[in-house]
């Protein structure tokens, strides 16, 4: 029974391969990167927890319930778009990424220019929040949601797009590099974006929660995992769309504020020290 719960409901070789590759590359990079920059155990645990959570909602029995219960599906996307990527970004895997970047042969660099350009475009301060919220609205648009739950390929596209965009967004928000000396996004802009993305999510979540009629009837078409009242399913799903993402935004704002204050402290310390030193 326990193994049944851990085995994927709908095995996806690509998904398993990608998660395994990320895990192996992370652990190898962790061992080989310079000791001075190597992430501490808390950061490693954060990264692995984030990765495991994302894998868990995609490739265990959880996915079965996510396919046939609206509120579990919302929980799945909460993990894929918010919680998992948040932990991965918070763990700051930059030293590991930098180690692997150094391993890339120099002549490969020109070939990576399109990737770099695409990355820069996606991480633009206007594009990133638009994409982050836009994807939630797109996949929750009733006709699109209907097709995504019915069509196996589209279902995988939906889940992967949520995960990839989640990682991009939270990395932009929690990038540990100093915005004053690197290209990382300024703290003020990050706070503004985090608050701005929360608003449409709150509106969407609340409108699902308070909708009188059934908004997502695909769960009637596909059958529910157990005979739960459709209205209850929709209500709980709406609350999961509404409250936890808003809390994630607040948590993000707090983290950025803390960094901003630390930065101001060190900046004023240096300013005070300069005349005497």
């Amino acid at each position: 029974m326990a193994t049944q719960l851990l085995l994927p409901y709908d095995p996806s070789p690509v998904t398993i391969a990608v998660f395994a590759a990320v895990l192996v590359l992370y652990l190898l990079g962790l061992r080989r990167c310079p000791a001075a920059t190597r992430p501490g155990s808390l950061r490693v645990v954060a990264f692995l927890t984030g990765l495991l959570l994302c894998y868990g909602v995609m490739q265990t029995r959880f996915d079965y319930y996510a396919q046939y219960m609206f509120f579990v599906h919302r929980g799945q996307h909460l993990v894929l778009h918010h919680l998992g990527p948040f932990l991965i970004a918070l763990s700051n895997p930059l030293p590991v990424l930098q180690y692997w970047r150094r391993q890339l042969p120099g002549q490969l660099m020109p070939w990576l220019t399109p990737v770099r350009l695409l990355y820069r475009c996606l991480q633009n301060a206007w594009v990133a929040p638009f994409l982050f919220v836009g994807l939630i609205f797109f996949w929750l648009w009733p006709p699109v949601h209907f097709n995504a739950m019915l069509d196996r390929d589209l279902y995988w596209v939906m889940n992967w797009s949520m995960l990839v965009d989640g990682v991009l967004f939270w990395w932009l928000m929690l990038d540990p590099r100093n915005p004053y000396t690197t290209t990382a996004l300024g703290y003020g802009k990050r706070i503004l974006i985090l608050v701005l993305v929360a608003v449409p999510q709150i509106i969407l979540g609340a409108s699902i929660t308070f909708a009188r009629q059934s908004v997502y009837d695909v769960y009637e078409v596909c059958g529910r995992a157990w005979p739960m009242a459709p209205a209850t399913d929709q209500l709980v799903g709406g609350i999961i769309t509404w409250i936890p993402p808003a809390m994630m935004s607040i948590l993000g704002v707090l983290l950025v504020l803390r960094r901003l204050m630390n930065h101001n402290d060190t900046a004023s310390d240096t300013a005070q020290m300069t005349p005497t030193g």
């Binding site: 919220v133 609205f137 078409v221 059958g223």
Partner: protein, 215 residues
């Protein structure tokens, strides 16, 4: 659609370019300018019809047994208080509106997902009350789960009450396959039965003339 949420999202700027892209993709996918179906077109989205189930008279029935006929697949159970009787009555009414000779090319597979309560006799008696073209089928739970998964649906059992009765959650839509067993349409009872009959007539005509069997 009177749904305020969907209206709001449709108007939202976020979705409009994406909608346009999806629409263009959908248009470019249609190579032949054919009239749209009334029920939801899901051709190519799911695998061809394939099953091995037990009929109410004890026979083993496979998809090949009704090859050439337009087949409708519906998951339900005979103790169902609402969706099943409504849907079967709806299907009977739709089939009645299909012109006489074509009507015989249509079969409904009513698959009971409650094999514990639905004995073959009970199932046979139940389906015959609706239409003679409905075949009652069932199997053990594992086989039923595999078949349900193949068509991206599921079923589940509620808690047993003092009388030993329980609710069963199941799909409320009908899967329609053409004469060659390829998935074509997803039919729901909110579509007027006349429109369902038009789709069925079109499929039955195509099944009747093997040359144009691809439509």
């Amino acid at each position: 659609m009177p749904n305020p949420l969907s209206l709001r999202i449709t108007r939202s700027v976020t979705v409009r370019p994406l909608l346009l892209a999806v629409l263009m993709l959908a248009l470019s996918a249609c190579s032949e300018p054919e009239a749209p179906w009334h029920a939801k077109d899901i051709s190519g989205v799911m695998p061809d019809l394939s099953f091995t189930l037990n009929a109410s008279d004890g026979r083993t029935v496979t998809a090949a047994d009704y090859e050439g006929d337009v087949r409708m697949l519906f998951f339900g159970y005979t103790s169902c208080p609402d969706a099943c009787p409504t849907t079967l009555a709806y299907l009977h009414s739709a089939i009645q509106q299909v012109p006489e000779p074509l009507r015989d090319r249509i079969r409904v597979m009513f698959v009971s997902v409650d094999p514990r309560r639905d004995t073959p006799e009970k199932l046979a008696q139940y389906v015959s009350a609706f239409d003679s073209r409905i075949i009652g089928l069932t199997s053990d739970e594992a086989t039923l789960r595999d078949l349900a998964k193949r068509y991206r649906t599921t079923f589940g059992y509620g808690e047993v009450n003092a009388d030993g009765q329980y609710k069963v959650s199941h799909s409320n839509a009908v899967y329609i396959f053409d004469g060659q067993g390829r998935i074509k349409l997803l039919l729901r009872t909110d579509l007027p039965a006349e429109d369902a009959a038009r789709d069925l007539t079109r499929l039955a005509k195509a099944a009747n003339s093997p040359t144009s069997g691809s439509s």
